[in-house]
Symmetry: D2
Subunit: 146 residues, 4 copies
């Protein structure tokens, strides 16, 4: 499990991202941060969609933020809510599985409150029967050395 | 219309982002860049999804990248393909409409090849009967001063 | 263009589907109907998503309804709104392109009010620079004889 | 848990739906069936998307199929794969939570092979930290009597 110092850094990035959430429908802002294998942290926030099926969660936004910088090796993800312990939704958990398949290393998933309290679980505790692609497994693994 | 110098800067960002595309299913990488009202440029690349309905286009990734930095005021978007002039898909065009509703200023959409050739159109030329939200219009507009 | 009689049949199916819309976030119900090459009509309604990126539009729901019955040969789609002429969003237009690629025949897109008034356009008028897959073109075409 | 007879009926519907899967990218067809509180069964199949983020899983397609018929009271869902036990992906599990919130009754999730073998789990075993909407809870519950 990650030590407190790095989680506090992630929380800071997630809190800053949350301030930028583009919400007009849900009235619920979220911030997230991903930690990559080389110690970089990328933030994400949620975006509502006018249209059903449009928009993104903070966690997926943070993952895409890492990808834009060429990082696919995700060690941990943190999501922050004002007052409650909230873990990533099923969609974001399944999205994380793509990154898990790249490295084959379990991903730590941290739920934090703005106050700094947090809980930590493993990706496969949260999605025990996750779908793993057999067809694309080798291609996913090829990103570890990219 | 934007002048050539700024488009070349956008193209550079889009090309760099394209190199980071997380693709394993489509074999087609895309890069994109958005230009905000204050002159900042944010890149994006596509991400395939193992699951149908998962993943993102380069253009939406670039828009979310701008949002994470608190930018909702999108002036232009550029998408680059290796050899063809490709414009954003319908989903990304509709997503752009949310940003259009924020500023009420037409968004320029540029299709570029890696060679540097480009074509330019306006968002509403590409999606002439776009859906504009009446319900959320005021909330969307509130982001202009955020 | 379709004659009035068939459009009225489509409108009836779309109106019935709209009554079943699963909405709790947008407060805006939509109904849709698709007409297949063999004269069948399938309805669809919108579903809101608690999560950003979840849920479906009425038009995509109607298309999936046709697919479940083994129909990929879409001749026309109609969307109904209570009082306004609304055309499918960019996402649904792009989704329609997959069905267009299967048959290579232009798809008629009808916007109707509950009162029965309607307007008709062609798919490529609504999405003039639609993305057409080169990679999957032959596989899409193979569904015409399925 | 459901008895074998009803599961066999669901499997039959899911197998028929699977034959209609609109796939051209993943080469992996899935079929699904949902059982509603009044004993009706609705099928669904997966649809690939040319564009990342487009397309649907069989399970979501089956749920939307039920909704079009005005059914929100989902008792169980079954997904069938040719040879493996596969459970719904995280997105479909999260989508199921919307229907769970409507009835407040646990949903049974069945993974079946075409041969007829099956395994059964509960929704919250598969997504133990699922996101439940507080904001929309009452509106979701209102669909139980619709």
């Amino acid at each position: 499990m990650l030590d407190k110092e790095i989680i506090e850094k992630m929380l800071k990035v997630a809190n800053e991202a949350e301030d930028n959430a583009f919400i007009f429908k849900s009235n619920h802002s979220f911030g997230a941060a991903v930690l990559t294998d080389d110690g970089e942290i990328y933030g994400g926030c949620n975006v509502d969609g006018v249209i059903s099926g449009m928009g993104t969660c903070a966690e997926s936004s943070a993952l895409n933020h890492a990808v834009v910088h060429g990082k696919y090796n995700i060690k941990a993800i943190l999501v922050v809510d004002e007052k409650e312990f909230i873990f990533p939704c099923g969609t974001c958990l399944q999205y994380l599985v793509q990154f898990y398949q790249t490295t084959n290393k379990e991903i730590e998933v941290i739920s934090a409150k703005q106050s700094g309290e947090y809980q930590s679980k493993l990706l496969h505790e949260l999605l025990p029967e996750a779908y793993h692609s057999v067809t694309f497994d080798q291609k996913l693994k090829s990103f570890i050395n990219k």
